[in-house]
Amino acid sequence: MSYPADLKYTKDHEWVKIDGANAKVGITDYAQKQLGDVVYLELPQVGRTFKKGEVFGTIESVKAVSELYSPVDGEVTEVHSELVQHPETVNKDPHGSWMIGMKVSGGQDDLLDSGAYTDLTK
């Protein structure tokens, strides 16, 4: 699977799609492959704020628990509750499976583009 050019990436294997001041956040194809079959997602409440690199939730596969790191500074404006009900969607469509929406207040400058992220996962 290729890494879409309209997304930015972190070394912790989250993706973020920034549209003006708003962003959607998910995990990459590389991350879902490492995790294997995803069975639970724990996501924060709307209104919580996170610094870039802070843990905003957890994702759990059959075999492991991983933390989810905020790729930017910002406030949670939306939580994808349907994804929480069907977490296996993360395996099938990782780059379409957004977890939270955020209002970005900083930290977006040193994200990786798809080329740099592709190199990182090689």
Partner: protein, 372 residues
Amino acid sequence: MTTSPSGTLKKTPLNARHRSLGARMVEFGGWDMPVEYSGIVDEHMAVRSRGGLFDVSHMGEIEIAGADALKAVQHITSNDASRLSVNQIQYSALTTPQGTFVDDVLTYRIADDHFMLVVNASNIVKDFHWIAERVKEVGGDAAAVNTSSRYALIALQGPVARDVLQTLTGVDLSAMKYYWFGTGEVAGVRVTISRTGYTGEDGFEVFVPPVSAERVWDAILQAGKPSGVIPAGLGARDTLRLEASMRLYGNDMDESTTVVEADLNWIVGWKKDEFLGHEILKKQKAEGAPRKLVGFEMLERAIGRHGYDVYIGGEKAGVVTSGTQTPYLKKAIGMAYVPADKTAPGTELEIDIRGRRVKAAIVSMPFYKRAK
């Protein structure tokens, strides 16, 4: 997230096969092993409904032979090996004088005076030293040899296992009972076949000379293809064994837990005069052990995993030893040690899941039992 393990790990004779089949490899007990190929859920469901092929060559074999071999085996293991006929197998514990587990083993009776213990990969060195010392203490004519490097071990598990393997061997598999073994050829290779496994399904484990491991592996995969047999990794092996309530050494029991606490009274030969730890185990059987291993099911969406604390009525009561989301039953289940007076099915537990107390309930095991 970790990268692929390096060359310092031990490799089974099938390592190149796993890599060419696209397995995700992980370190397990010092070995470079496949954790999954197509995915844990897919492989788990294949074993429950069709068949899965596992490389378990990392398991160890320790053989004890000599005129006094039975006496030695009776001393070091909890089960009664005198009840074994030649070609029969029993599950047993290699016990400490405290009645705890050095390891859990399968005891194969190869001849009247020749036994083979199949032991856990991470315990091979420890077990061999332990066994060699104890056998010496028993004295007489018996010696222990670590024969682990002589065998690759390939497990075919699932409802189609017998029919698939039968196409490759002249050994009459339908005449082989559960926990019995025999010798013969599979795909033209001289092997030992045992009707055993760690999945809760019918199946066979094939002991193969390492040099012929790829040939046997390829032949079984090929023969099984039309009936949907796929390669399966340690990930599915773990979810399958937990669903079937089989214990995992290092998780569910170890040198700090006794055989009675692990609720494995059925692998103790209570009528034996002696074995290591028999006084303590007999006392615990009569008077009760302080704690006991139970099964639980989560009542809320969460997984109680190994090492998580268990609370009963607000008090810390024990610890989770194994836990997962099971692909077949589609529930979060696990095992935990709890005080012996709080083991009744239905007892409500709270499990501390990363700082959050989540409700669970004790349920009777096994979680899964196949239809006969």
